[in-house]
């Protein structure tokens, strides 16, 4: 089209005829159901408990009859209770990042590792990375799946992997410059830290080799993408995954940047209404529910991700036939009820990034008094503004309050704070401090 050839890692699967894909999904799902019923007592008990016989499963539409699996189920069976194979068949153990409390273990067989590497290779290729690229992984290497997952994919692809891990932003910049990194893999918030460090160090992004950024592990916004792309002079794509079902590789944006292609040959995706738990049609937002189709180590049936998104079934010009999901808007457990209105931290972020004079660092603090969530948004502002110009400061504060009120439909409290006063992390940014005591 525009001279750039679209590259696809596994076209035989990513561009599959939809009818063939459905047949494959059914085959894989039925085999998975037979396997978990035989090998995982948790599923045998829950299936028996609702009178569901896996032999009666006849079509993908029957999926709605199956029980959900939740984080609580994973915790109760921690560490190995949901594994479908003996531990000696497991070649890798990871854990969920524990965003919402205790982390839970997940295990991979050799085949799972192969599948996973191919899925993250898809992510990288979709984001513009090829075997000639130098890929800098700035995720923490450890139990968290992000670093190892994308690392394997980059190796599988034949790219040169630089596993910097969670070094601070200045060190990331130094390595990026010296090693001539062309692709950066990290969280969007850390990408902005890195952009800030470049400015401080006087490094001109145009003089670097960096071309692509692949960001995930936390929700971010379209305006944040623009900011990252402008500051780092790269293309920035979003990718999604969760260790409970695999890790990164579950869904990823192509260079069209209009939603994340779902790995539908390895997972079955549903979106449900988090209140009624009924599946909703494509285009309607709700909670993402994932069933693994090929996982051997720890298959999961209808796992409730708590992530809010929508399935988009319009065809994508990139040629992939895999449907897409909208950028994750937030988590059902991040959702705030402010004076009766549902508010997501990601909406607050989108507003802040559009306002001149604010830094892309903020924190939402939530308290609860008498059943109402009290929300205070702390926003970093540039030093000059913070120390010198009280009048400008109050104008800015008023602007933020007004914009938030018009976007969110409720008024929240806003406090301006000095640059770099909010807690920074090299991993996931702590955007929400929730002090509510819920029962």
């Amino acid at each position: 089209m525009n001279g750039t050839e679209t590259r696809i890692w596994e076209p035989q699967h990513e561009c599959m005829d939809r009818a063939e894909l459905e047949q494959l999904q059914l085959e894989r799902l039925e085999a998975t159901l037979s396997r978990v019923y035989r090998h995982v007592s948790f599923y045998r008990k829950t299936f028996d408990g609702i009178g569901f016989n896996p032999d009666d499963f006849r079509s993908l539409a029957d999926l709605a009859r199956l029980p959900f699996t939740t984080k609580a189920d994973l915790r109760q069976n921690h560490p190995y209770g949901l594994f479908a194979v003996p531990l000696r068949d497991i070649v890798r153990v990871h854990a969920s990042s524990g965003t919402t409390g205790l982390s839970t273990a997940v295990g991979y067989t050799r085949n799972d590792m192969r599948t996973w590497s191919n899925l993250t290779a898809r992510v990288l290729v979709a984001g513009g990375v090829g075997k000639e690229d130098v890929v800098q992984i700035a995720f923490d290497y450890g139990l968290f799946t992000g670093a190892f997952g994308l690392h394997q994919g980059a190796e599988r692809l034949g790219a040169s992997v630089v596993p910097v891990s969670s070094a601070n932003a200045r060190r990331q910049v130094g390595i990026m410059r010296d090693y001539r990194t062309t692709a950066l893999v990290t969280t969007p918030s850390h990408a902005l830290n890195i952009a800030d460090a470049m400015i401080e160090m006087g490094v001109n992004p145009a003089a670097l080799s960096l071309k692509h950024g692949l960001f995930g592990a936390e929700p971010w916004s379209e305006s944040m993408r623009k900011e990252i792309e402008e500051k780092l002079e790269i293309t920035a794509t979003d990718n999604y995954g969760l260790s409970e079902v695999m890790g990164p590789g579950v869904a990823a944006e192509c260079l069209e940047k209009k939603g994340l292609h779902l790995a539908e040959d390895h997972f079955l995706f549903e979106v449900i209404d988090p209140d009624t738990l009924a599946p909703v049609p494509p285009g309607t937002p709700g909670e993402l529910v994932v069933t693994t189709l090929t996982k051997e180590g720890i298959p999961v049936i209808r796992y409730r991700t708590r992530d809010l998104t929508a399935i988009l079934d319009a065809p994508c010009p990139c040629g992939r036939t895999l449907r897409r999901m909208a950028r994750v808007k937030g988590r059902t457990d991040d959702m705030l009820i402010v004076k009766g209105a549902k508010v997501f931290p990601s909406e607050i972020e989108a507003v802040l990034l559009e306002i001149e004079g604010t830094e892309p660092h903020y924190q939402v603090q939530v308290d609860r008094e008498a059943g109402t969530d009290l929300v205070t948004v702390l926003v970093e502002v540039s030093e000059s503004l913070f120390f010198d110009e009280m009048k400008k400061q109050s104008v800015l504060r008023d602007t933020i309050v007004k914009r938030l009120a018009s976007e969110l439909g409720v008024t929240v409290d806003v406090k301006l704070v000095g640059k770099k006063t909010l807690e920074r992390s090299d991993g996931k940014a702590r955007r929400v401090v929730d002090r509510r005591k819920l029962d």
């Binding site: 063939e20 047949q23 494959l24 059914l26 085959e27 894989r28 039925e30 085999a31 037979s34 396997r35 035989r38 032999d55 009666d56 499963f57 006849r58 079509s59 194979v85 000696r88 068949d89 067989t109 050799r110 085949n111 590792m113 192969r114 090929t294 051997e296």
Partner: protein, 247 residues
């Protein structure tokens, strides 16, 4: 080429297959691996129309064949090489082969039969040299070749084979598998049922594992060979497998 959806089948009160869903794409070699009694033969017989499915759907080359008679299924281009060869012992090799051509006669392609016979003889030179010999006097391997040759005389688009390696010496088994590859290269799709899982998975593109009538695993041949359950249950020694499988 072939697609099964939720096929249940059995004999009398006995239920053998439970919601079997699988597909074979044109040009593939697909193998069904499973222990004795898992339902592998029943599966092929159900596709061939010899056993009536109780539920589910079978589509061959775009045509629903769920309750279609065997002759019609063969005429559509789906042939079965049954377990134990079942050649006609008191008849010469050539006549056994010509029996396989009856579909070609029915299709009005009588004039192509000689050419088909020549193709089979080129594929199995040993059959040419045994041309007039009674089938019953052939060795086990030769009888298997004859059974395959007879199926080829019907010019199938899909050839299904039930345990072609059974009872044969290892070297002969190797020959048979090599021939199946050549048959695929010549454009015939192959669905192969085997207890010799290792040999079958080595020539197959994909496979399904059938356990007590249910498919419990599916994947590329490479994935199944690397699966530890498959290694333990169907590939024999675990240690051997452990040394062989590399990341």
């Amino acid at each position: 080429m072939l697609r099964l959806r939720n096929v249940d089948a059995g004999y009398g009160p006995l239920s053998v297959l439970r919601r079997v869903t699988l597909h074979v794409a044109a040009g593939e070699i697909v193998t069904i691996v499973g222990a004795n009694g898992a339902g592998k033969t029943t599966l092929l017989e159900t596709v061939a129309g010899l056993v009536r499915p109780r539920a589910g759907e079978i589509v061959f080359d775009g045509t629903g064949i769920t309750r279609v008679a065997t002759e019609r299924i063969v005429a559509l281009g789906c042939s079965l090489v049954p377990e134990g060869r079942q050649v006609f012992a008191p008849m010469p090799v050539r006549e056994n082969l010509l029996l396989g051509a009856h579909v070609q006669y029915a299709r009005g392609k009588r004039h192509e039969v000689a050419e088909d016979l020549e193709r089979v003889y080129r594929l199995f030179p040993i059959l040419r040299s045994r041309d007039g010999q009674l089938a019953g006097t052939l060795s086990g391997g030769e009888q298997q070749m004859l059974a395959i040759g007879r199926a080829l005389m019907a010019r199938p688009k899909l050839m299904m084979l039930d345990e072609p390696s059974m009872g044969l010496a290892p070297l002969v088994v190797k020959d048979i598998f090599a021939i199946l590859r050549r048959i695929r290269e010549a454009g015939t799709t192959v669905l192969l049922v085997e207890q010799n899982a290792r040999g079958a998975l080595r020539i197959a593109d994909r496979g399904y594992v059938l356990e007590t009538g249910r498919i419990v695993l599916q994947g590329t041949a490479e994935e199944l060979l690397a699966n530890r359950d498959v290694q333990r249950a169907y590939l024999g020694s675990d240690l051997d497998a452990e040394n062989r499988v590399m990341p």
